[in-house]
Symmetry: C2
Subunit: 223 residues, 2 copies
DNA sequence: GTAAAGCTGTGAAAACCGTAACAGAATACT
DNA sequence: AGTATTCTGTTACGGTTTTCACAGCTTTAC
């Protein structure tokens, strides 16, 4: 189908907004809202209504002119687009503090990413129960990935081991890697990597803080 | 100085790349590399050399035409721009799993953000030692922020409490909030917020995974 | 000493994204 | 019934970001 192919040619910026739309819509659904206009939804997310409609337009539109969006139709449509209409089995590699935090992050399951495997090499951690399942030895990695049909892996190992582990993941059939290690992973085509660098986040925040402090100093000296 | 004011009018996209440049440069510095060309540095980060030079150009350039960049000069220059030439005292609000993970994230200190306060309301957590300091009661929040001159707060409380806590932080003098709660914080001008939504990250990854799977199916049926 | 190669700084071109404007359709109101 | 209002889908516009191209400087090779 041409539409599927086309629906993947979408700006990154739009893709990053889809989860925000879905989150807000689920919230509305939970409090019993049935209809929502592009303006209402957009304003609650601090964006322009035209942008929201433009985003939806990439996927063909979800309503008819003159009628607001129906929450009950929009939610499954977005889930379909994002790829979580069916639960996506997920693994966590690295059961350190961050891995534990993510394993216990309840929303992961709720939002469509049930954790079907937690792995580590540390003998002290192997066997420990986390969220109803034991931490497994890395030896079992390939076996569990295949048996549980895991497609996405969350990587929270030290940077030095990230590439080695990534190679094993790809070999075992993983298609998406959510990488928390500060390393640039090289993966073959057909594998998606998303880097989540906490250091980048806090540093760009720091840049803005510095700018705010500077402008405050200027204001003082100017007065 | 006009330059300071100007140096804050920089595209967000550029700001987000600065930490990546710094990280890579520190790595080069650690292995003894003295000079690096824009091409070398850019290629190791999977971006175009012209973009890197363009980014640096916002700050006036760091070399002279004809000569490559000197790592030893670039590192402190970037630290100055990002605002971490001096350590930036930081607090963690919420000592749950994620808060603990961040508190124990060694690099935070190394990268210029020493944790000077960890707070929670849970009596079971208060007093527990994390990374050499006790978890404090939220009652002490304002006092510690003022005493330690804390400017940046990492917010890892539940979404329902995020806005209330953010208000207290702003009131106490916090200028930058690194928000991990899935909530849209409203803050006055002069306060920077950076939202880090783990759910958004994994969902945009899921979108790409779905696209990869679809294109693979198409390839099969086409063959 | 001169030519060649390599490098940055810089401004213009191209690509991309966000915003605005409007046509057409459904509803609400008089 | 007819008009006004509200709403989406869609296209065109404007601004921003990325990429390209090149001028000018520095070193290297011969």
């Amino acid at each position: 189908m041409a539409k599927n192919r086309k629906s993947c040619e979408v700006p990154d910026a739009t893709i990053h907004r889809l989860p925000l739309y879905l989150e807000k819509l689920k919230l509305l659904q939970a409090i019993g809202v049935e209809d929502v206009s592009s303006r209402q939804l957009a304003e609650s997310l601090d964006i322009k209504a035209s942008q929201l409609r433009h985003d939806f337009h990439y996927f063909g539109g979800f309503s008819r002119p003159g009628r607001p969006y129906q929450v009950a139709k929009l939610v499954p449509a977005l889930e379909q687009i994002i790829g979580i209409a069916e639960p996506v089995p997920t693994a966590i590699i690295g059961a350190g503090h961050l891995g534990q935090a993510l394993a216990n992050y309840q929303n992961l399951d709720v939002q469509g990413f049930p954790v079907r495997g937690i792995f580590d090499t540390n003998p002290k951690l192997i066997g420990v129960e986390m969220r109803g399942q034991p931490v497994r030895d890395m030896d079992e990695l390939e076996k569990v990935i295949r048996e549980e049909k895991i497609k996405i892996a969350i990587l929270t190992v030290p940077a030095a081991q990230a590439q080695t582990v990534a190679n094993r993941l790809v070999e075992a059939g993983i298609i998406g890697i959510f990488n928390f290690a500060p390393a640039d992973l090289k993966v073959p085509e057909g594998v998606a990597v998303r880097n989540e660098r906490l250091a980048v986040g806090i540093m760009s925040l720091s840049f803005k803080v510095k700018c705010i402090l500077q402008s405050q100093e200027e204001d003082i000296t100017e007065v």
